[in-house]
């Protein structure tokens, strides 16, 4: 069991979300010929398998996994849109199967894409509709609609038809729609998927500053970007093929599974200074890439010992007369993270 996995257990009496052995499988559609040949045969895809974890109130929780990991299915079960086959899921104590209406009053899902909005209507009309569906009335509704427009930065653009909005604005409107009910749990399914890098950065800042936090709401964000999850979230769960591989504090996960790999652009990839660092054990697993058009060559290596050790490597290289242009840490990719978690689990199993 990893440090991260141990961290998945709840520490408060009433978690915002409590998932216990949650499973969901879907029947795989077969072609007509196959169905005629074997009418009784059925194959299944296990979208979510035996997932158990807690999410604390006010937490920014990341659900990290590649496409098909089961993130969206998990979200749909929490939003009462899909029923689980096995296990239980509760939102502040309300069971998603037995008390769906109570759950819907607390949970606001935000879809991965911009579907769900009425494109020929203004943002104001869209929000008024959902405010009514959530049973907000009169002055409270008007006040709340304008409040969420201000929070998401769409005040002043509320009379514009949604079809004329940019992707970023529509994403913000979807968030505004979700915030109308002051949700206790906000489910964000890949919210930055259709945004350009600048809009995505602004959007992340907005989430951190305006949406999540103590006294605000609990946010569960599904993403396939390890960088995004580790940057934004307090804790992260890694899902792979429907199974929960690890749950833990984002920084702890990063520390545990990151290999402190750096990319350095140099004019002297064969300088003796590199060899000296390798012999001292300061750097490991050095690989030299193809020389680029401007004459600089990327060198990748592992620098055990964190950022302090990296600073010493840079100083040594420069001191030895190695020309260095860039010295950057290679972010932990999702593929690497999953590969390493699976590998570490295999080691634990083998050890046991």
């Amino acid at each position: 069991m990893t440090v991260a996995a141990r961290d998945g257990a709840a520490t408060t009496a009433e978690p915002a979300l409590r998932l216990r052995h949650l499973s969901k499988r879907f029947r795989v559609r077969r072609g007509l010929i196959a169905s005629l040949r074997q009418p009784r045969a059925a194959s299944w895809v296990h979208a979510v398998q035996d997932v158990s974890c807690d999410v604390r109130p006010g937490e920014f929780f990341g659900l990290l996994g590649p496409n098909g990991a089961g993130k969206t299915t998990l979200f749909k079960m929490l939003a009462t849109l899909t029923s689980p086959d096995e296990g239980t899921a509760t939102v502040y104590g309300a069971d998603v199967m037995r008390q769906p209406r109570e759950v819907r009053r607390m949970v606001a899902p935000v879809a991965a894409d911009e579907r769900g909005l009425h494109w020929r209507l203004s943002a104001l009309e869209n929000l008024r509709l959902f405010a009514t569906l959530y049973d907000l009335r009169g002055a409270v509704m008007t006040e709340r609609v304008h409040e969420v427009l201000r929070v998401v930065g769409l005040a002043g653009a509320e009379q514009r038809v949604v079809g004329t909005y940019s992707s970023g604005m529509r994403q913000r409107l979807l968030i505004a729609r979700a915030l109308l009910i002051r949700p206790r749990v906000l489910l964000l399914d890949e919210p930055t998927r259709s945004l350009d890098p600048v809009s995505a950065r602004d959007f992340r800042a907005f989430l951190r500053e305006e949406v999540v936090g103590p006294g605000k709401c609990t946010v569960v964000m599904a993403t396939h970007s390890a960088e995004e999850a580790l940057e934004l979230c307090d804790r992260v769960a890694v899902l792979h093929r429907g199974r929960l591989l690890a749950v833990g504090a984002a920084r702890a996960l990063e520390r545990e599974y990151s290999d402190d790999r750096y990319r350095i652009r140099t004019r002297d990839p064969e300088h003796r200074g590199w060899r000296a660092l390798e012999l001292e054990g300061v750097i490991e697993r050095r690989t030299v890439g193809e020389m680029e058009a401007d004459g600089w060559t990327p060198v990748e290596c592992q620098v055990p010992g964190g950022r302090e050790a990296a600073a010493r490597v840079l100083a040594s290289l420069v001191g030895a007369g190695v020309g260095v242009a860039d010295f950057e840490r290679i972010e932990l990719s999702l593929a690497d993270l999953i590969e390493r978690i699976v590998a570490s689990r295999a080691l634990v199993t083998a050890g046991a």
Binding site: F26, L81, S83, A111, L121, L133, R137
Partner: protein, 276 residues
């Protein structure tokens, strides 16, 4: 109820954003009354014996038939179309994630289409009145109540079609069969008795085809409305037809509700509420 009204309002605002289509929809209906008038007047002498007991005026017969047809088509088609649109645009899943009740959401999704059709019926009626359609206006409230029963009956069938959309994404042409079948056997442009007579006298078709008119709810609704509005008959004279229509209404609404409940449960189990 507020949820239903909010959805109706949104549907109206969306429809109003297509102003030209809205105008054409009303104008074409108003113009449609012109050929209806001339056909009605031309065929009146020939049809008079056949429509005896359901209004002595064939033009009036056609006007009432047209109105009932518009209402039945909207009642059958509104819900499956709204669900299909909601699934493909993704709005359906979002509104089903709110705490509003399923019933109010379904009414809201179809309410505008039904109200708009009612407004179009008023246009047809107004245009027909300018062409000399004589009605017993005092019987109108009762006629409207019977037409509401027709709408509720066919809405039940629409719920079954809607359930098929939710469960299978296709309705296997159920709406077309119901709309065309009701128009053919329910007495929209000719009295149902004509079908029975034609089958028994002039064809080798089995007798049961002629009896199909009896299992079409529109047959009873139209006959009752025509007798009230065109002949000026009292309500007690059509209570038999109203009773039959009411029975159909109960059966189809119950079947529709059951089908929709099962379809939504299935969609939730299979996670297909938003897949298209």
């Amino acid at each position: 109820m507020r949820s239903a009204l909010a959805l109706i309002r949104v549907s109206f605002l969306t429809a109003a954003s297509y102003r030209f289509a809205m105008f054409v929809s009303v104008a074409s209906l108003a113009l449609q009354i012109v050929p209806t008038y001339f056909i009605g007047r031309t065929l009146d002498p020939f049809m008079a014996p056949a429509i005896k007991g359901q209004g002595s005026d064939y033009f009036g017969f056609l006007v009432v038939g047209t109105i009932a047809y518009l209402l039945l088509a909207a009642s059958v088609d509104a819900l499956p179309r709204a669900l299909e649109r909601g699934i493909s645009t993704g709005t359906l899943e979002l509104i089903f994630s709110t705490p509003s009740s399923t019933g109010s959401l379904l009414v809201g999704l179809t309410g505008y289409e039904l109200l708009w059709t009612a407004a179009r019926c008023v246009v047809v009626l107004g245009a027909a009145a300018t062409f000399g359609f004589h009605a017993h206006w005092a019987r109108f409230p009762e006629a409207v109540a019977i037409l509401a029963l027709v709408v509720a009956t066919y809405f039940g069938i629409g719920m079954i079609a809607g359930a098929m959309i939710v469960a299978f994404r296709r309705t296997a042409a159920l709406q077309t069969v119901v709309i065309v079948g009701s128009a053919m056997f329910g007495g929209v442009t000719y009295p149902p008795s004509l079908v029975t007579t034609a089958v028994s006298r002039y064809s080798n078709a089995p007798d049961w085809i002629g009896r199909l008119v009896e299992i079409v709810p529109l047959t009873y609704g139209l006959r009752a409305v025509r007798r009230l509005v065109i002949d000026g008959a009292p309500l007690r004279a059509v209570l038999g037809d109203v009773g039959a229509l009411g029975a159909f209404c109960l059966v189809f609404l119950a079947a529709g509700s059951l089908a929709m409940t099962f379809a939504l449960r299935r969609a939730r189990a299979e996670g297909t509420l938003s897949q298209y």
